[in-house]
Amino acid sequence: MSSSTADYRSPSDALSAAAMQLAKGQPLLEVRDLRTYFPIKKGLLQRTVGHVKAVDGVTFNVPVAQTLGLVGESGCGKTTVGRSLLRLIPATSGEVVFRGMDFFAYRGEELRKLRRQMQIIFQDPMSSLNPRMTVGNIIGEPIVVHGIAKGRDKDELVASLLTRVGLDPSYASRYPHEFSGGQRQRIGIARALALSPSFIVCDEPVSALDVSIQSQILNLLQDLQQERNIAYLFIAHNLAVVEHFCDEVAVMYLGRIVEKAGSKELYGNPKHPYTKALLSAVPDIDPRPRRERIVLQGEVPSPSRPPTGCAFHPRCALTREAAKGASAAETTEIKVGGDRLRVLTKCVMEAPELEQKQGEPGHVAACWVSR
């Protein structure tokens, strides 16, 4: 039993029922300063010439049976966060503590046992189900691999899982191509549930589905959370879905969390200028819109060459506004796409850390200007 540090319990202990009890107030999952860099290789010798900092120092907690939403635009690193913390992509540095255990320190059999507790649901229900396996085998495989049940017991377990996600148990003998997108996503959910996990990463679970099917899947996930005390990391780009589904929401921009708060607080009282722009860009389901729209010009910069200081500064209206009222010594002129703009020097030079803003306790944002 070789656990890395004395504070952490070994997984065999952890898998005993008593150890499954979390200390009061302790989060189920803690992610501390997670970084995932991908090397950029060039030339004949494939020398590493730089790194894409896909995830650059991300910290958050997921409490038991709660949902943390992770939002941001494509390329912001939200999917990489989900995959890195499950060790599907090796992280460069950082810590993931699951039930008080240092998840990154485990190897072999112990890791396998711990992994039962953590599952993932993918965006594309077609490419994430093996087309040559029957639905029964897809859902039954983890049950057999982890030695939970075999033979008829396994079949019964599969049937009960299918029933739970709203499918007919007779579908076990069919193949994925025989199902619609929504049904396939239900199969993916049944597979994730097979090992009774306490934590599931949901990576865009409804964005490939039709509108009338999305709500069915969201309600199913919600019911399962209540029934089985499952915590979710809900990764999505649809802000309305995230608001509806999550207890807490973190907004990512270029590999970092720029704002985090309770769902209601974040949507009602956004602090970071990027969050504000993102929220205002969501089309109103109302032909007579009321909200003001902030149209961000330009696009997200490449994560291989992120801007210095606050990565958002070249697109930020707030720093320009603040620069107008500041002394010349505190401001700098930057060139963005041919325009010369005056911004706060601080925003260009130093990256802001997440700090408590005016609002609910726990409402943090990384911005020099916003209060």
């Binding site: 802000l239 860009a281 109103d284 003001e292 961000l296 010009q297 963005v336």
Partner: protein, 352 residues
Amino acid sequence: MPEPLLQIRDLNIAFETSRGDVRPVRDMNLTIFPGQTVAVVGESGCGKSVTAMSILQLLPKPPAKYLSGQIFFQGRDLLKESERAMRSVRGKDIAMIFQEPMTSLNPVYTIGDQIVEAVALHQGKSGRAGYAVAQQALEDVGIADPARRLGEYPHQMSGGMRQRVMIAMALSCQPKLLIADEPTTALDVTIQAQILELLRKLQKERNMAIMLITHDLGVVAENADAVAVMYASRNVETATVEELFDHPMHPYTEGLFKSIPKLGANRDRLDTIPGTVPNPQRFPAGCKFHPRCHRMQGDVKCSTVEPNLREVQPAHWASCHHVPGYESALVTIPTISHKRQITARVTQEVNA
């Protein structure tokens, strides 16, 4: 009332398959006036894209068969035109942009060559004159440094930029109608906002009509003047955008509105439409929505007689036996020349 630019009347299309014909479009009616945006909304497989493709005669025959109907564009029936005549309509009078800007641009030609090809074909300008038109087209869609961009290849651009190029290409010949098939579905929200803003601006400048095909009701709410909702290959409801969002009549439309999460709406649970969209090879009898409908309540009429589209209220068409006034309403071709009173929201342009 002005003359419609495009009018689709009772269009019926079949696809021949080894297991018999399927019907992707049934009894479709749609009218678009100059300068108007008409949204066609529905879920995947409902027939909205097939309808659009049929306007430009882009459906391969076989398997496609036009069973009946007319597609009038500026008074002439496109279904009766020769392939040669259609070639001068495509791109010139009616242009189309697609969901996937990557797959609809040719990866081995520069952006400039691809735009000039269309310009040379329809405006007879090639070489330097063609490039001048192409450069102007890129400038119109807000691409910085257009002269340099003309020499680039599609893979050198981001998704939002490629969609701008597609729009530039589509609009380079000043079409009267733009068919936009899910133009922003593959894009992030902030880029979607930019592209829709651009389309609105260009539409206003050129008095161009847009047929906007989408499944996103938010995009419809912000951009459409009139809306046609499709379900199971058929138009089940048509109204002005305000009327449709305020008073949806068809149970499918009503269900869609209730099942989407809205920003700022505090709801514990979403309402759902039970079941799934029927497979066109196995459409149920009667109303195609009846197996999922809460209004049916054992009514035999719903499961035996398919309701047709009727003008239940002035400028509001629906096809449901259970809409008040449906029985006595008349079957008319939906024609709405309405333009929304654009409540232009304050747009804070951030230049960067």
